[in-house]
C-alpha cells in the first residue's frame, strides 16, 4: 500500500494520480464494462428464469400426477363404498324379499280369517214378532161374532208378546256374544298384519335410505370420474384428515408395540443370552423386536386374507379356498406367538422376583427373608396374570394396525405429493425472484460503476451539448 503512495514524494499527490488514472481507465473501459455487466446480469437472470420455468413445469406435471393419483384413489375408494352399499341392499332384498311369498301367504290367511269372521259377525235382523199375526187375527174377527173373547185374546197376545220379547232378547244377547267373540278373535290377526306391514315398511324405508345414499355416492363417483375440481378438493382434504388420524392411531400402536417389547425383551435374554450383540444391538432386544414384527406381519396378512385391507393385491386375488386357508394359517401363527408372549411375560415376572430375591440377599437379608419379601406377596398373582394377559392380547390388538397403516400409506402418497408441490412452488417463486433481482442488479451495478466517473461523464455531457447533441468522436472509437 505504501508503495502505491510513494510514486511521488507527496502521498496526497500520489493518491490523486492513482485516482485520476483509475477513473480514466474506468471511463475508457466504460462501454465494455457496461456490456459485460449487462450480459452477466442477463445470463444469470435468464438462467434463473429458465430454471423457474422448468421447476414450474415440473410442479405442474407433479400436480397433474397428484391429481390423477388422488382421483384414482378416490375412484377406487368410492367403488368400494358403492359396492358395499349394493351388497347391503342385496342382503336386505335377499333376506327380506326372499320371505315375501311366505309373508304374502301369512297376510292372505290373516285377511281371509278376518273376512270370514267379519261375515259371521254381521248383525242378523231379528225375526218379526209373532204377535203381529195375532193382531191381524183379532182385526179380522167379525163384529157379528161379537167381541166377547177379545179380552182373552188380547191377554194371550200380551203373554205371547212378553214371551217373544224375552226369547228375542235371549237370542239377541246370544248372537251379540258370538259376534263379539268373533271380533275378539280378529284382534291378533289385525295386530299380526300391523306388525308384518310395519316390518315391510321398515325394510322399504331402509331400502329407500340406501338408495338415497347410493345416489349420493354415485353423484360423487361421477364427479370423480369427470375429474371435477370440487371432487379433487374434497379428496385432498379427506386425504389430509385420514393422514393425521391414521398417523395418530399408528402412534398409539407404536406405544402398544413398545409395551409389548418391554414385556418380552427381558425374558428373551434367557433364550438367546443377555450379552450377544448383532450390529451393536443386544441379540435379546432384536429377537423381541423380530417377534413383534412377525406378529404385525401376520396381522397384515390376516387382514389381507380377510379382504379388510388391500395392501397386497396378490393375496386379495387368491382363490377363496386358498385365502381362507391363509386366514387359518396366519391366525394359528398369531395364536402361537401370543401364547409364546404370554409365557415370556410369565418368565419376566419370575425373573423379576428372582432378581429381587438376589438383590435382597446381597443387601444383607438372609435367604428366607429375601424369599419372603418377594414371592409371598398376596397380590403377586395379579401382576403375573396382568402381564400374561397383556402378552396374549397385544399381538391380536396389533393385528388391527393394518387398517390405519393402509390408510396412512395411501394418504401419505397424496400428502407427500402436496408437500413436494408446495416446495416446488416456493422454489419456482424464489428462482423467478432471483432472476428478476439479477436483472435489476445489472442496472444497479452499471449505475454504481458510473458513480466514480461523474467528472468525465459531466465533461462528456458538456461536450455533447456543445456539439448539438452529437456524441464526441472518441465514444465511437470505443
Amino acid at each position: 500500500m505504501n508503495f502505491l503512495l510513494n510514486i511521488t514524494p507527496w502521498p496526497a499527490v500520489s493518491a490523486l494520480l492513482w485516482i485520476v488514472f483509475a477513473v480514466t481507465a474506468m471511463y475508457l473501459a466504460r462501454v465494455t464494462a457496461h456490456q459485460a455487466i449487462r450480459a452477466g446480469a442477463r445470463t444469470l437472470s435468464r438462467t434463473f428464469r429458465i430454471a423457474a420455468k422448468m421447476v414450474s413445469k415440473g410442479r405442474h406435471d407433479l400436480d397433474q400426477r397428484n391429481r390423477e393419483v388422488l382421483l384414482a384413489a378416490g375412484r377406487e375408494a368410492k367403488e368400494r363404498i358403492i359396492e358395499r352399499e349394493f351388497d347391503r341392499v342385496n342382503e336386505t332384498v335377499r333376506t327380506d324379499l326372499a320371505n315375501y311369498p311366505k309373508l304374502h301367504r301369512a297376510l292372505s290367511e290373516s285377511i281371509t280369517r278376518i273376512e270370514e269372521d267379519h261375515q259371521q259377525a254381521v248383525d242378523v235382523p231379528p225375526d218379526p214378532p209373532g204377535w203381529v199375526k195375532a193382531v191381524e187375527a183379532v182385526a179380522k174377527i167379525d163384529s157379528s161374532e161379537g167381541r166377547v173373547g177379545i179380552g182373552n185374546v188380547l191377554s194371550d197376545i200380551h203373554k205371547s208378546l212378553v214371551k217373544a220379547h224375552a226369547q228375542s232378547m235371549v237370542s239377541y244377547r246370544h248372537e251379540s256374544g258370538k259376534r263379539h267373540a268373533l271380533l275378539r278373535r280378529m284382534r291378533p290377526d289385525w295386530r299380526k298384519i300391523q306388525v308384518t306391514l310395519g316390518h315391510v315398511g321398515k325394510n322399504v324405508d331402509s331400502l329407500l335410505d340406501r338408495s338415497v345414499t347410493i345416489d349420493r355416492h354415485m353423484q360423487e363417483y361421477e364427479d370423480i370420474v369427470s375429474g371435477k375440481d370440487h371432487a379433487v378438493s374434497i379428496l385432498s382434504s379427506s386425504s389430509l384428515v385420514q393422514f393425521f388420524v391414521s398417523a395418530f392411531v399408528l402412534l398409539v400402536a407404536i406405544g402398544g408395540a413398545t409395551i409389548n417389547f418391554s414385556l418380552i425383551a427381558r425374558p428373551m435374554a434367557e433364550m438367546v443370552g443377555g450379552t450377544g450383540l448383532i450390529g451393536g444391538f443386544r441379540t435379546a432386544d432384536i429377537a423381541a423386536l423380530v417377534i413383534i414384527m412377525v406378529e404385525i406381519s401376520m396381522g397384515l396378512f390376516l387382514m389381507e386374507s380377510l379382504r379388510i385391507t388391500r395392501l397386497f393385491p396378490v393375496i386379495g386375488a387368491l382363490p377363496d379356498k386358498m385365502r381362507i386357508r391363509m386366514v387359518w394359517i396366519t391366525f394359528t401363527i398369531l395364536f402361537l406367538l401370543a401364547c409364546v408372549e404370554a409365557g415370556l411375560a410369565f418368565m419376566r415376572e419370575v425373573l423379576l422376583q428372582d432378581e429381587l430375591a438376589t438383590s435382597a440377599l446381597l443387601r444383607g437379608a438372609d435367604a428366607a427373608a429375601a424369599e419372603a419379601a418377594t414371592l409371598s406377596g398376596e397380590y403377586y398373582w395379579i401382576t403375573t396374570a396382568a402381564q400374561m394377559g397383556m402378552g396374549f392380547i397385544l399381538p391380536f390388538a396389533l393385528v388391527f394396525v393394518a387398517i390405519p397403516l393402509e390408510t396412512f400409506v395411501h394418504s401419505l402418497r397424496t400428502v407427500l405429493g402436496m408437500l413436494v408441490n408446495g416446495l416446488l412452488r416456493v422454489l419456482s417463486t424464489t428462482l423467478r425472484l432471483a432472476g428478476n433481482t439479477f436483472r435489476y442488479f445489472g442496472s444497479l451495478f452499471i449505475k454504481i460503476y458510473d458513480l466514480p466517473l461523474f467528472v468525465p461523464l459531466w465533461l462528456q455531457e458538456r461536450a455533447e451539448r456543445r456539439n448539438g447533441g452529437k456524441k464526441p468522436s472518441y465514444q465511437g472509437v470505443l
Binding site: E270, G274, R282, L361, L362, R363
Partner: protein, 211 residues
C-alpha cells in the same frame, strides 16, 4: 456369486459377536492376618456390593491373604457370570453364601503375603482377559513375609486398577502416623511404577465410586 456369499457370511459373523469387550474382572484379596481378620464382616459387605454391580460375563474371585498367597488354594470363591439372568442370579447367591461361610469360619494367619496375592490376582485376571481389570486389597497393607519367601518380583500391572480398601491404622501408626503414610505411599509407588492405577477407599459407606 460365491464372493458375495462369502462377504455376506463374514458380515453376519462379524455382526453376531458377543459383547465380552466391555466385561469386568475383579480379584479381591482379603487380609486374614492377626486382628485384621475381625474386619472381614466389612469385607463381606463389599463382596455383596461388588456382586450386585457385576453383570453377565463379568468375572469375580475372592482370595485370602495368608502366609503364602501365591496359590490357587487361597482362592475362596470364583465365578464368571452366565449371560442368562436366572443362572447369573443363582451364581451370585451361591457366591455370597460361600463367602459368608468362609467369613464365619476363617482362621487368622501368622504372616501377610500381599505381594503374592497380587501376583496371583494378576495371573488370574490375565488368564480371564476381561476388558477392565480390578484388584481390590482389603488389608491394612502391612506386609509381613515369612522367612524364605521371595517377593521382590516386578509386578506387571499395566491396565489394572488397584484399590486398597479399609486400610486401618495400626497401634504403631497412631504413635507415628508417618509409618502409615509411608506404607500407603510405598504401595502406591509400587503399583504406579508397575503401570497400574492406585486408589484408597477407607469410607466404606461411599462405595458408589468403587467401579
Amino acid at each position: 456369486m460365491k464372493i458375495l456369499t462369502i462377504v455376506l457370511s463374514c458380515a453376519i459373523l462379524v455382526a453376531c459377536t458377543r459383547s465380552t469387550a466391555d466385561n469386568h474382572g475383579v480379584y479381591m484379596l482379603l487380609d486374614t492376618s492377626g486382628t485384621y481378620s475381625e474386619e472381614l464382616k466389612k469385607a463381606e459387605q463389599i463382596i455383596r456390593y461388588t456382586l450386585s454391580r457385576l453383570d453377565a460375563t463379568d468375572t469375580f474371585a475372592v482370595a485370602r491373604i495368608d502366609t503364602g498367597s501365591f496359590s490357587e488354594k487361597d482362592i475362596v470363591a470364583k465365578v464368571t457370570l452366565d449371560d442368562r439372568p436366572s443362572a447369573m442370579n443363582k451364581q451370585k447367591r451361591l457366591f455370597a453364601q460361600r463367602v459368608q461361610k468362609f467369613v464365619a469360619s476363617v482362621r487368622s494367619s501368622r504372616y501377610t503375603d500381599i505381594t503374592g496375592g497380587i501376583l496371583q490376582g494378576i495371573e488370574f485376571l490375565n488368564e480371564k482377559s476381561p476388558a477392565r481389570k480390578t484388584i481390590l486389597i482389603f488389608s491394612d497393607l502391612k506386609e509381613d513375609l515369612q522367612e524364605g519367601y521371595v517377593r521382590d518380583i516386578a509386578l506387571e500391572l499395566d491396565g489394572f486398577n488397584v484399590i486398597a480398601l479399609n486400610v486401618t491404622k495400626l497401634r504403631s501408626d497412631n504413635i507415628n502416623p508417618r509409618e502409615y503414610l509411608e506404607r500407603v505411599s510405598d504401595w502406591q509407588s509400587l503399583v504406579e511404577k508397575a503401570g497400574g492405577k492406585w486408589r484408597v477407599i477407607n469410607d466404606l459407606d461411599g462405595l458408589e465410586g468403587l467401579f
